[in-house]
């Protein structure tokens, strides 16, 4: 594996090629982050424990009150699912840039990859982590609160589209707070009003997936989630260079 890297440099500096090879640069950033994540498993551990804690905090009181096979209403299940995802994302995914600033590798990254590649690389890692997290939280809610899913495909699509949008917002704001003080408190304050429209739509779509609403009824919500993901990703891509050189 190490040989392969030597033979084909991950990112070739712009002077050798006319344009920096974007795809290769993105891949290099993503691979670097995945590797450092697998070494420390900081985000994976933090996310998993955080998700477990949130679900347990909610269910250790509610769970014993439920009859076997009975559950809380789908609206509350949908809310819990997204509350867990939102706060876990803030806890685990914010590290993407904070860590670079803390160990002072940000400058190195700045010199070696174009800003768009840095953003997309980090964003993709966050999408992957959020997808893993969604599966874990859904499974935990099913385990502890007897959550039943009527339409698995619809829920999957909702989590996927919602995950893309949430990851874009969280990644950009993580880069912003990496340059500020009072980070963790600030992160939630900055993220909530921006994520709010998506959270409302996602909770509604999740509730529909849980109750088994027809596709026709859920379509506007899924379109809304897609629109939010596209809009926020485009805005984040456009704004990221300004954050990166601040």
């Amino acid at each position: 594996m190490a040989k392969q890297i030597e033979r084909r440099p991950a990112y070739v500096e712009p002077s050798r090629f006319r344009t920096p090879h974007m795809g290769r640069a993105i891949w290099a950033v993503l691979r670097k982050d995945v590797r450092s994540e697998l070494r420390t498993r900081y985000a994976l551990n933090a996310l998993a424990m955080f998700a477990l804690t949130i679900v347990l905090v909610v269910s250790f009181y509610l769970g014993p009150r439920l009859a076997p096979r009975e559950s809380i209403t789908p609206a509350i299940q949908a809310t819990l699912l997204w509350v867990a995802l939102f706060f876990a994302a803030l806890t685990g995914l914010g590290r993407a840039f904070v860590h670079e600033e803390e160990v002072q590798t940000a400058t190195f990254l700045r010199l070696n990859a174009p800003p768009a590649a840095v953003f997309v690389g980090k964003w993709l890692l966050n999408v992957i982590l959020l997808m893993l997290l969604s599966v874990v939280v859904t499974a935990l809610l099913g385990l502890f609160l007897n959550m039943r899913i009527a339409n698995v495909l619809m829920l999957g699509l909702c989590l996927l589209l919602g995950g893309f949008g949430l990851a874009a917002t969280v990644t950009l704001l993580a880069a912003v707070i990496a340059k500020a003080s009072a980070r963790s408190a600030l992160f939630a304050a900055l993220a909530f009003p921006v994520v709010f429209p998506q959270l409302v739509i996602a909770m509604l779509a999740t509730e529909q997936a849980l109750t088994g609403a027809p596709w026709r009824a859920a379509l506007p919500q899924l379109q809304g989630l897609g629109a939010y993901a596209v809009a926020m990703t485009a805005a984040a891509l456009f704004l990221f260079p300004y954050v990166w050189d601040a």
Partner: protein
């Protein structure tokens, strides 16, 4: 440099314009307040409570307008990197915060009297709450960054990022909730909402009210629709009889929904069925309508003028403060 600019401004032949504008604006707002209490007739059913709308609508409009100005000057700042553009964005945000607090407070007072509770989780209430949170987050972000250039740049990025998500808030979220208390189109009598057309025994929804047409009674030109009305979960179920005169094309009787100040109106009859609509209690006379419209419009202009007055004042102050600081450091 600063002094030169100030003196040059005061010596210009148009230096009387701002002074006259300020005095004019003062009298204008005085006129608006007088008209609001003396000229505008009390709303039928709402009494004097309805007068607060004259303050509520302009402040709500300005709180959104300020957000657009902040976003615009954030773009300009990111392009030109001049501190005074950031000042403008900051001042717009401060004023936006002030006006959204005013809009929320006036709206909440109205809601308590008319709908019975200070807060109703209604789409527009939710939207302005999020707008307040965005403004709050913007200030929190600014105070968390020490380096002035970095602070300006990141604040501009955040204002723009929040601005991108806002259209989803105003256009998508209200459609997600099923009902709205804000009378979008029924504020003035005669304005048309998208009502519903019901055939005999047809069922339909207006706002959160379920309607079923039981019968249509005809008595000469007078047509009366007998409508079974119920709220969420068949609460407050009753039968209403809105009446319409076909010859004069006027609504004769518009009964109130139970426990509500909104009314059910029969707006027309044809072979497909009857057209029913929800109507806000408004002024009954056309003259009252004119007074309401004129005062609202004047109030809108007055508040906008007030906004730009404070906006200019505060921008100038911030610019001076920056220059004094720069001189102190040098």
């Amino acid at each position: 440099m600063v002094d030169n600019m100030v003196t040059a401004q005061s010596r210009s032949p148009l230096s009387w314009v701002p002074r006259v504008a300020k005095v004019g604006l003062t009298f204008w707002m005085l006129g608006v307040v007088l008209a609001m209490f003396l000229w505008v007739p009390p709303y039928e059913g709402l009494g004097n409570t309805g007068r607060i709308v004259m303050m509520h609508v302009p402040t709500a409009w300005l709180s959104t307008f300020a957000f657009a100005i902040a976003a615009w000057y954030s773009i300009v700042y990111l392009r030109r990197r001049q501190a005074r553009d950031d000042d403008r964005a900051l001042v717009a945000t401060e004023l936006g915060f002030l006006f959204s607090v005013l809009a929320t407070v006036t709206g909440s007072m109205f809601a308590k009297v008319v709908w019975g509770s200070w807060w109703n989780w209604e789409p527009r209430e939710t939207s302005i709450l999020i707008l307040l949170l965005i403004y709050g987050a913007y200030f929190a972000l600014r105070s968390a960054i020490d380096d002035p250039d970095r602070r300006r740049q990141l604040a501009a990025v955040y204002a723009l990022f929040a601005f991108v998500s806002a259209p989803l808030l105003t256009y998508v979220v209200p459609r997600m909730y099923e009902n709205t208390l804000h009378p979008n189109c029924a504020f003035l009598p005669g304005s048309r909402c998208n009502g519903i057309t019901l055939a005999n025994n047809g069922v339909g929804q207006l706002g959160d009210q379920r309607l079923q047409l039981l019968n249509v009674e005809r008595n000469g030109d007078l047509v009366t629709a007998v409508v079974d009305v119920s709220g969420v979960g068949f609460s407050n179920r009753t039968t209403l009889r809105p009446t319409y005169n076909r010859a004069t094309q006027r609504q004769v009787d518009t009964p109130n929904f139970p426990d509500s100040r909104f009314m059910l109106a029969l707006q027309g009859v044809d072979e497909t069925g009857v057209q029913l609509n929800i109507q806000a209690p408004g002024n009954t006379s056309q003259r009252g309508n004119v007074a309401t419209r004129t005062t609202l419009f004047a109030s809108l202009i007055g508040f906008t003028g007030l906004f730009f007055w404070v906006y200019n004042l505060r921008t100038t102050l911030l610019g001076l403060q920056r220059r004094v600081e720069a001189r102190g450091l040098a």
